[in-house]
Symmetry: C2
Subunit: 136 residues, 2 copies
């Protein structure tokens, strides 16, 4: 079931963001999809943080409803479902990049690879384009 306690957004961009992914699981699913190119339910289910299958199903439903993901049947295998990020989700990559920079500065146990940081810092726009390329 889709959560009932929601924010009434009315124009504010941060409230709009909070409504779309102001929830730890939604954010982590976005990470899996955008950054690790996960496409299937079972791949998402086995993310390191350990999401429960009912929560995953409810979040995927919400993300589909809010236009972050599209769901399609795998033409090569009728049991599989493919979840892919929409333009709306892909357009979050710049914000993700800022979060990566932020975390690499403030997380004492950051695991962001040095070469990734260097690549982002050398040319941020290019790094974002390269992260996005596999989806186009």
């Amino acid at each position: 079931m889709t959560p009932k306690y929601k924010v009434d957004h009315t124009g504010c961009p941060i409230a709009f963001a909070a409504e779309a992914f102001g929830d730890k699981w939604t954010l982590l699913i976005l990470r899996e999809v955008l950054l690790f190119k996960k496409k299937h339910f079972d791949e998402l289910l086995s993310m390191r943080e350990g999401i429960a299958s009912n929560i995953l199903a409810s979040r995927l439903k919400g993300m589909e409803a809010s236009g972050l993901l599209v769901k399609q049947e795998d033409p090569a295998n009728g049991r599989r479902v493919i979840y892919s990020p929409t333009e709306k989700a892909l357009d979050l990559l710049p914000a993700c990049v800022e979060l990566i920079l932020w975390a690499s500065k403030h997380d004492p146990e950051t695991g962001v690879p040095a070469d990734m940081l260097a690549r982002i810092r050398r040319n941020r726009a290019k790094a974002i384009r390269e992260m996005r390329a596999p989806f186009d």
Copy 2:
């Protein structure tokens, strides 16, 4: 009380972000503090989205614990408390700016003022510096 269902982050920048503010209320409090310069409990309590006082108190406690806010007594008025953003919180401004750009593109009822968008697009770094200036 601070929530018990947490993410085990272990190095991932997005999980680190989810742990710090992967919660709609925390994100909205950050907005009030960073973007609207709110400093007091009652100001935060009256945000448009209608947060309950116990939830606000628990989130403020969590944000203090995670180093996003510092709490100090108002020297001019002993009943008042001043919450101010730390460096860690201020360093989220670039990500906020990206979210503003994202929402202005994808929210059909966006209320982001056109001149703010123009200012950001003209010179993003300068806009961020200006947003940050009042806190330095």
